[in-house]
Assembly symmetry: C2
Homo-oligomer: 223 residues x 2
Amino acid sequence: MTEALHDEDGSRWAGQGAGLPQKQQAVDAPTISAAALRLFAERGYRATTMSDIGAAIGIRGPSLYRHVTSKQVLLGGIMVDTMRALIADQRAALDAGGDVSLQLRRIVEAHVRYHAAHREQAFVGNREIENLEQPYRDEVLRLRRTYERGLRTVIERGCAEGDFTVAEPRLASYAILDMGMGVSAWFRPDGPHGAEQIAYTYADHAIRMLTGRSSEGATTADA
Amino acid sequence: MTEALHDEDGSRWAGQGAGLPQKQQAVDAPTISAAALRLFAERGYRATTMSDIGAAIGIRGPSLYRHVTSKQVLLGGIMVDTMRALIADQRAALDAGGDVSLQLRRIVEAHVRYHAAHREQAFVGNREIENLEQPYRDEVLRLRRTYERGLRTVIERGCAEGDFTVAEPRLASYAILDMGMGVSAWFRPDGPHGAEQIAYTYADHAIRMLTGRSSEGATTADA
DNA sequence: CCTACCGATCGGTAGG
DNA sequence: CCTACCGATCGGTAGG
């Protein structure tokens, strides 16, 4: 316990002190990132200290720097990984084939499923953009544009083929993406609705939004 | 310039120093709150310092305490005012009468219009909840529940009267509120779409979502 | 409304 | 992986 040990890069340190680790788990970069994600989601990036992250895995704040470069790199990794996962899921939905209506359903289901099943990633990814520094920030914004374009392209194709009837595909894509992103803010694993049910229902919402008869009710626009 | 003056509560101070005010505007609580709102929206609550807010209106950070109690009270006031304005707009939409479909359209238009026309308020209101302390936090959460219930009640009435056909009114209300809230994140006054156009289009989206024939396309749910 | 300053916090480094 | 600590930041107060 107090004997000198070799750490990963061969230097020596004097021991582990008397503090009891909170949880006996492997301390590596993915473990740290997972703890950081949970804390960033719960209390926000700026309100989370390196000491908090360390405590969550049973070590002191400074010891984290053995495994990770900085707090900012932790955030950047989380956000870039999140966008890559979303894009991969979207691509898989597109590659599954089917007509444009089925493709749209699969894209929306994948989108909503991710925001429910990985609500912390999605929530942090949506809220902490202004705390993200370069080069992560531009990279994440670029990936977000790619992701939006994927959905919009399907909507536009559906309009061209006569299946969809929206005047502004971009506004429709924003509406669909935003309603799905909202799921990450209120979804609870132990809540009354399961992720699959929500994904299915939201895909219904999207299909209806894109296929309804145009200007349905009376108009207003007075106030 | 260097002569002693009386300030608002009768005490004396020695002068204004040599700093040039950035803008010659009245310094009062509403002016400070407006500057704080702009900065909170741009860089976030925690990233905004009292010195930043002061500089935006040409005074030093400590001088703000002549007019406001604390940074937290600034945030609380902004967020409570925002929710009250949203609820007032929703109530006005309901009081305008009409059938359930028209009421729904008015509610959604008011919701989206606010999130475009007052995008900074709405954006801050949605992002800084975890930075809000008591009693503001509970008050804002209470107002949000009231607001959601207002929309959901109309959806439920529409279902009872046969105009709407959603299985889960709560999920539909979340979807509609979240897509409108998203507007506050991407709307730009000089962008290609005006606030009124977006409000009208989103009300169309909502009406379609609520009135489409049920389960339209093929189903998926494999992945 | 200002300057000076207190007290607390925090990311990251030194050195073992 | 630890303790000790640096340097910087920041909300708020003192006192004029």
